[in-house]
Symmetry: C2
Subunit: 355 residues, 2 copies
């Protein structure tokens, strides 16, 4: 193939790029693409967009984020036993290496390609490089399909589930702990909500033949006034992952319904939707995604987490997750990628873009 993808991946792992500090890695990508024929490369902040313009009938968008989560003593890459270890190796500098390898082949493709390297995927949603690019020129995303090279062990993980953050504030009435019957313990009331959430029967819907699996988890709990005071306020933050065929209001309503009789609005209890983003449907019938699926020869899986495929999906572009690296090792100290998965992802994409 001509491009040493493992070396490229290792070199990029060696360039720190924690969210909001992606400049050095963007410099590397710009310099690399400067030596590639057939691409028009633009920099928007520290985002990099590279497009071929051969007037082909189809245009495919291939995207990956430059940033990583904060380091955990894993900044130095290590190549051993067919693996590359280090921060971002799986999520997603191996995917970026595949993108650079594909860029080298762009003159041989039967389709035009738009490569997007973007910042701040791991940080606050509002800072996402995709939004920065969109503000600059929303036409950049125009394409018939988008492949997001997030780690999926080089098999298609289609669509993604939606996610929302819900806060519940439960009220009580203060009293001295020696006479708690004069008050109402908000933490005791909250205990029942936590139990209800913990025991909730959730849906495992099958959509386009893919098994999704919803989740409902209390991710934060707090409450208390002083060691001798019956507390009058206790709160939880709940994360709900919901199937991509549900709207935000529908998903939120199902949680409100679950907790319904435990919430006393007259008492000042509140259930508040703090943030919610839709998932993305699998789009397995989109021609390019269907072709990629056929080439990989693997059964597709549903993407249970939320990814930027939802960003493209919301803009009418069929999108899927497909890239090297095990999503379960992402964000762990011992993050790694199998070199053979890098080659698998490259070969599948390289073939799909030619035929």
């Amino acid at each position: 193939m001509g491009t040493d993808l493992a070396a490229l991946c290792r070199d990029m792992v060696a360039i720190p790029s924690v969210s909001q500090r992606e400049k050095s890695l963007a410099d590397f990508v710009v310099e690399y693409l400067g030596g590639v024929k057939g691409l028009d490369t633009t920099r928007i902040g520290n985002n990099v967009v590279a497009r071929s313009s051969f007037g082909r009938q189809y245009r495919i968008l291939i995207a990956g984020h430059l940033d990583t989560v904060p380091p955990d003593d894993n900044l130095v890459p290590l190549v051993r036993d067919g693996r590359i270890y280090g921060l971002g190796s799986a999520d997603m500098k191996s995917g970026l290496a595949v993108m650079l390898g594909l860029a080298d082949q762009v003159t041989s493709f039967s389709m035009d390609v738009t490569f997007i390297f973007y910042v701040c995927e791991e940080a606050v949603a509002s800072l996402s490089g995709l939004k920065e690019i969109e503000r600059s020129d929303e036409e950049i995303f125009a394409s018939q399909a988008a492949i997001l090279m997030e780690p999926t062990s080089s098999r298609i993980e289609a669509g993604c589930q939606g996610t929302m953050r819900i806060r519940c504030d439960i009220r009580g009435k203060r009293a001295h702990t020696a006479r708690p019957w004069v008050g109402v313990n908000a933490i005791h009331r909250l205990g029942e909500l936590v139990q209800r959430i913990s025991n909730a029967e959730l849906e495992d819907p099958v959509i386009d033949g893919l098994q999704f699996r919803e989740a409902l988890q209390v991710v934060k709990i707090s409450g208390g006034v002083a060691n001798n005071v019956v507390p009058d306020l206790a709160s939880i933050v709940v994360n709900h992952r919901f199937a991509p065929d549900k709207g935000i209001e529908e998903a939120f309503e199902s949680v409100r319904h679950l907790l319904g009789d435990l919430i006393d609005q007259d008492n000042g209890d509140e259930v508040v939707l703090e943030e919610g983003v839709l998932g993305a449907m699998p789009n397995l019938d989109s021609p390019f995604i269907a072709k990629l699926l056929e080439i990989t020869g693997e059964m597709p899986k549903a993407k249970l987490g939320w990814t930027d495929v939802a960003f493209f999906s919301a803009r009418g572009i069929p999108a899927t997750n497909f890239g090297p690296g095990d999503p379960l090792v992402a964000h762990t100290k011992d993050e790694f990628v199998e070199v053979k998965e890098i080659d698998l992802a490259f070969n599948a994409m390289n073939y799909a873009l030619r035929v």
Copy 2:
């Protein structure tokens, strides 16, 4: 009686004395007692001890704390409708006024009296003025009975319940909230403990004819890592009020037994006794307390909260709570004391010390 107790109380409410800042009020007490015949007054830090030494057969100790909780826009005393409003009016400057009024009568008593005005009852136990006095001279407390003039609406509230603080740390296993079944949610596990505590059937023991009532309350709860992480640790702090005939180990054991099957020590769960203090038995058969009870003519009640009667009780001195002011308004913004309760407490004590 000669002493205007309501005016004394009002004047002392006007002197701020938040815990650890009792100097001005100690100055006031020392100056007042300087004009009283028959008392030997000593200052130990900002604690004040005043003793008669007429060689009587009995010595009664009468104690009250100088400090208050922090102000809540209630530092200026207000006299209206037979009440004195203001911070410390009930807890316990009305009690201090009764003590000063009794000091004026000390030459007429049939018993010797030791008055103790002490600091830091409302703050950290280790800073209590009683301990400061004890370090200076433990013989100061020698007496046949101790009356603690804490607010009891001028009726005897006998003994006091013990109190302990227990921390429970519950462990789980981190995971991404999109795949919670890979982990264990520590907050979900903790929810079951809170429910168990909330529904616990506690004892309401009758001791020396007095109805005690135990209590078990979660006073603090915390846990959580990030909004997309299944949390691996969640904690509660529990306050347990227990009957005065129970030891600390016995009371703690009953809580451990209650939670027993929910605690997985192999998993790193912990139930830790952070602090525990014994209660005090009612001691209604102690001669002076029995006499005071007869004079008031009211049925005694059990003291459900913890007070310094336990300090004296632990040193072999029968002690009881008896003073003006409603304990339920103590530590509230609208704290007040009924002037007639001040007179009631004074008259009962003045009579009991003479006969």
